[in-house]
């Protein structure tokens, strides 16, 4: 067995070492590009999903969202509930928000969107909006005449927002009038403008909960409570944990809140990825098959001679399999290098997506799966023509 493999390796290496370097390089390059194709599209899709997840957690929902029970407009006794949730192990922050649909007025322009009332310190513990101020500052707990808004809502002078609410030119310090659903109107000074690249958040604005409670006449109530957990990805476990603590309100994971869109998108992406992977693997099969087929047909006589001088069919077939393994291994390594280069570049210069900047998210499982499938199809594609020729009658093979 070992001797046979040694001879196969000897024949394979001599063929690689002294065969056509151009054909070898071209084949390796094709395998490398197939590998990149197998990895790259899924990694971009994973990147999109990850970016969407990050956006949802960091700006829209936190990890979990507590909402009023069905039929209720607000969560009552919100502070008590907040304290209760804060005490649960693994919960690192909670932020009650009051949401109201308002109309903004600025220099004769108006726009309608959601205005949130928040406790700034609590919000900082859950979302990263405070880290995304592009102008001015985030809210402070004592602010009553200040508002912060997203870049979409603030807008730019003379620039349309493509159907999204925009005041077209609000800057820090601008006075913006807000008309609440109860008809109350307040004028706030814009304290800061943020950009999260989350469409809904960038089209919204925030004031302090103290201010909004005063305007809407609320006391210790919240429209939603955002919950931040110590790790991402275990939202379902934490939801069960919260329910076990007797919380009566509706609890949603961020996936459930944004589920429809993300799930549909992921399903569509999965289909595209599967088709792309299938096409790549078919190309790999065809390329390896053709290379080995031409190789074996050109060496038909040589294969006959090897058999005639006492080298077994298995040793001959294995020598071709080893050549395929070498080509696939080098091609895969080149593919990994190319993928790493692309990933580094796109991490430095991410792709702009509506949900936020996207970098490839290369998952180890995807790499392992791609390497395994590439090797499997390559070996199969190399084995068939090698076996076919090596199985020929000696004299027929020698006569070519």
């Amino acid at each position: 067995m070992f001797t046979g493999l040694r001879v196969s390796a000897f024949l394979a290496w001599k063929s690689i070492e002294r065969g056509s370097k151009g054909t070898l390089a071209l084949t390796i390059m094709i395998i490398a590009l197939i590998f990149v194709n197998l990895i790259f599209l899924p990694s971009i899709i994973s990147g999109v999903v990850r970016a969407f997840d990050d956006q949802s957690i960091d700006f829209d929902f936190g990890n979990l969202v507590i909402e009023p029970r069905e039929g209720d407009q607000y969560i009552d006794d919100a502070a008590n509930l907040q304290r209760k949730v804060d005490r649960i192990p693994g919960i690192t922050g909670t932020s009650p928000r009051i949401a109201a649909g308002v109309t903004y007025f600025y220099r004769g322009r108006n726009a309608a969107s959601t205005l949130y009332g928040i406790k700034p310190a609590d919000e900082r513990a859950v979302t990263k909006i405070a880290d995304r101020m592009v102008e001015g500052e985030f809210l402070s707990n004592g602010d009553t005449d200040a508002i912060i808004m997203g870049t979409t809502l603030a807008g730019r002078e003379g620039e349309e927002a493509g159907g999204l609410p925009s005041l077209r030119g609000v800057v820090v310090g601008s006075p913006v009038e807000v008309v609440y659903p109860n008809g109350e109107a307040r004028t706030y000074r814009v304290k800061g403008i943020y950009e999260t690249q989350s469409i809904s958040i960038d089209a919204s604005a925030f004031v302090t909960a103290r201010e909004m409670n005063g305007v809407l006449g609320l006391h210790d109530q919240a429209s939603i409570i955002l919950v931040k957990t110590d790790v991402n990805g275990r939202e379902a476990e934490y939801k069960t944990e919260l329910l076990s603590y007797g919380i009566q309100e509706d609890i949603w994971t961020y996936q459930e809140k944004s589920g429809g869109f993300v799930n549909q998108a992921i399903q569509s992406f999965d289909i595209i990825t599967a088709i792309s992977a299938l096409v790549s693997l078919i190309i790999a099969v065809v390329v390896v098959f053709i290379v080995i087929f031409i190789n074996t047909v050109n060496r038909r006589r040589q294969i006959g001679i090897l058999k005639a001088i006492g080298i077994s069919q298995g040793v001959i077939v294995n020598s071709y399999i080893l050549q395929v393994l070498f080509i696939t291994a080098v091609g895969t390594l080149a593919g990994i290098a190319l993928t790493a280069g692309l990933t580094i570049y796109l991490t430095a210069y991410p792709l702009a997506f509506p949900g936020g900047p996207v970098s490839p998210d290369v998952e180890a499982s995807a790499v392992i799966q791609s390497v395994a499938s590439l090797f499997a199809v390559s070996v199969a594609a190399g084995y068939i023509p090698a076996w076919r020729v090596a199985n020929e009658d000696i004299l027929t093979a020698i006569r070519g």
Binding site: V7, E17, R301, L306, I309, I311
Partner: protein
């Protein structure tokens, strides 16, 4: 020792059946240098292919050193070729990607011989066939005569009990042919190497101990011990 009994070989060429051998019986003793001669299409190469286990007869029996070789499985036949037979082809049949030395030691590698031993054996046999300075040359860098010497060295490296040669001089000029035949004669004389060689050149007869002539798939004549004493060009 080779014992071939009543060998027939029928090829199907489309709907036509061609009888290449029609009942050939032959014995070759240890240390004999037998020439198989005959006109083109007489069946001499077919006979050698069967004796070399490269082909199977339609009927008949072949025993080599007491082994019924036709009863062997394909795997056993391969091992038999590797360990007991040496085969020299008309057109050298070297592996173009390998050097002369690599071509020679390839079969020793297959046998699992230690590296030191197969390198020593292969270098020695290349020296014996007069290619000491050409060991690292590839096929394209060797003349026809040199390529055939490499093929002979490859056939001999595992000390086969029988060396089979299928018109080994067919592609060589007379000078190179003579040097190959001299080499065969020396191997036969010095090492008592059994050789069965196919040829159609009349002047080769003077090298053979015995000449078997085939005609239309049957043995026509057998000339016993045509050669007397040492091979041509050598003194007793």
């Amino acid at each position: 020792m080779i014992v071939a009994e009543n060998l027939t070989r029928v090829y199907a060429m489309g709907r036509v059946e061609v009888q290449a051998l029609r009942g050939v019986s032959l014995e070759v003793g240890k240390g004999e240098f037998v020439g198989i001669m005959g006109a083109s299409g007489s069946g001499k190469s077919t006979l050698l292919h069967i004796l070399g286990l490269l082909d199977r007869p339609t009927s008949g029996r072949v025993t080599i050193d007491g082994t019924d070789v036709l009863a062997l499985s394909d795997h056993r036949r391969t091992l038999f070729r590797l360990n007991r037979l040496g085969y020299v082809f008309q057109d050298y049949a070297l592996i173009g990607e390998l050097t002369a030395l690599e071509n020679v030691y390839l079969t020793s590698l297959v046998r699992g011989d230690p590296e030191e031993e197969y390198l020593r054996k292969s270098t020695a046999i290349l020296e014996r066939v007069g290619l000491a300075g050409r060991t690292n040359h590839r096929q394209s860098e060797l003349s026809g005569g040199e390529q055939q010497r490499v093929a002979i060295a490859r056939a001999l490296v595992n000390n086969p009990s029988i060396l089979l040669a299928d018109e080994p001089c067919a592609n060589l000029d007379s000078q190179a042919s003579k040097s190959i035949l001299d080499l065969f004669a020396r191997l036969n004389e010095d090492l008592d190497q059994t050789i069965v060689m196919v040829s159609h050149e009349e002047w080769h007869k003077e090298y053979f101990c015995r000449v078997v002539t085939l005609r239309d798939g049957l043995i026509g004549d057998t000339e016993e011990c045509r050669r007397e004493g040492p091979p041509p060009g050598r003194t007793a």
